[in-house]
Amino acid sequence: MGDEQLTAEVKTLVSKVIKIPEEKIDVNVNLFTDLGVDSLMGVEIFATLDKKYRLDVPEEKLKDINTLNDIIVLVRELLSKRT
């Protein structure tokens, strides 16, 4: 999967979970402090990624996540480990 496709997919998925339109989510904006995402919503994002990509997303990684870009990097890393 290409970087652009992955970015678009993850953005769509995050947008659906946090109920904020995709165009308002910049890849570098802080999801927690700027967009009001709480830690449980963060888990729901992880749970949705887990389901969609069949990844074993460790919840400990949640504390390392601040932006959409961090999520994309994490998914890419987990996908590359799987292959």
Binding site: S39, V43, F46, V57
Partner: protein
Amino acid sequence: MIENDTSSYWRRLLDLDKPVPPGILDKYRSWHRLSRSLFYAMVDIFLRLYCPEKVLGIENLPDKPPYIIAPNHSSTLDYLTVAWAMGKRKEELYVLATSFFYDNPWARFCFKVAANAVRINTEVDFFSALGIAAKILGAGKAIYIHPEGLRTIDGKLLPFHPGVGVLAVETGVPLVPVHISGTWKSLPTGRIFPRPCPITVSIGEPIKMAPYIEKKKSVQAYDVYKEATEELRNRILALSQ
């Protein structure tokens, strides 16, 4: 069934599919029990004479645990007023004590005398704390939680954290809404000695989780947890009227 039903991840997070490990509940020595009897004898005098307490809706308490008691939080007196209202059934209740308090020997002693306290460390991992609460419920006990997380400063109900919704929906245990009035006037944050003031503890009908569990099949799990939490808040607000 929604394509991205995420409840399996949440269940894994709370370790719900694993058996309840032995030793999850703290051991209490006989002197804790004796101290507790003496302590509640004093609480009894306090809540009869100094801050006379009225209890409404005690019949709404589920016949037996597991259940989650969820009152509003406005004072350090709150737990005592609910425990007193429950009489002998207070022994069913477990409270989660953060390591900040539990690791202090004097505070731990006070916790153990007043309640069945279980140590959690929310600073390290909030979800393992939720998992411990789930295990206590799995062991057939009741949990006492303040969904606001903090005491109110101005007497108004704060927003609720959805963790209580996660716990209730994923364990399928009923949520018992409780409204406590009078404790904020008697002993608000920052005050050391309570003022004499009547207290009322109103216990509402339990919120059953079956409709929410059903709903989770068609709606994102997080939204269902939020909805259950909001319903709890609305019921507590209604009890305050």
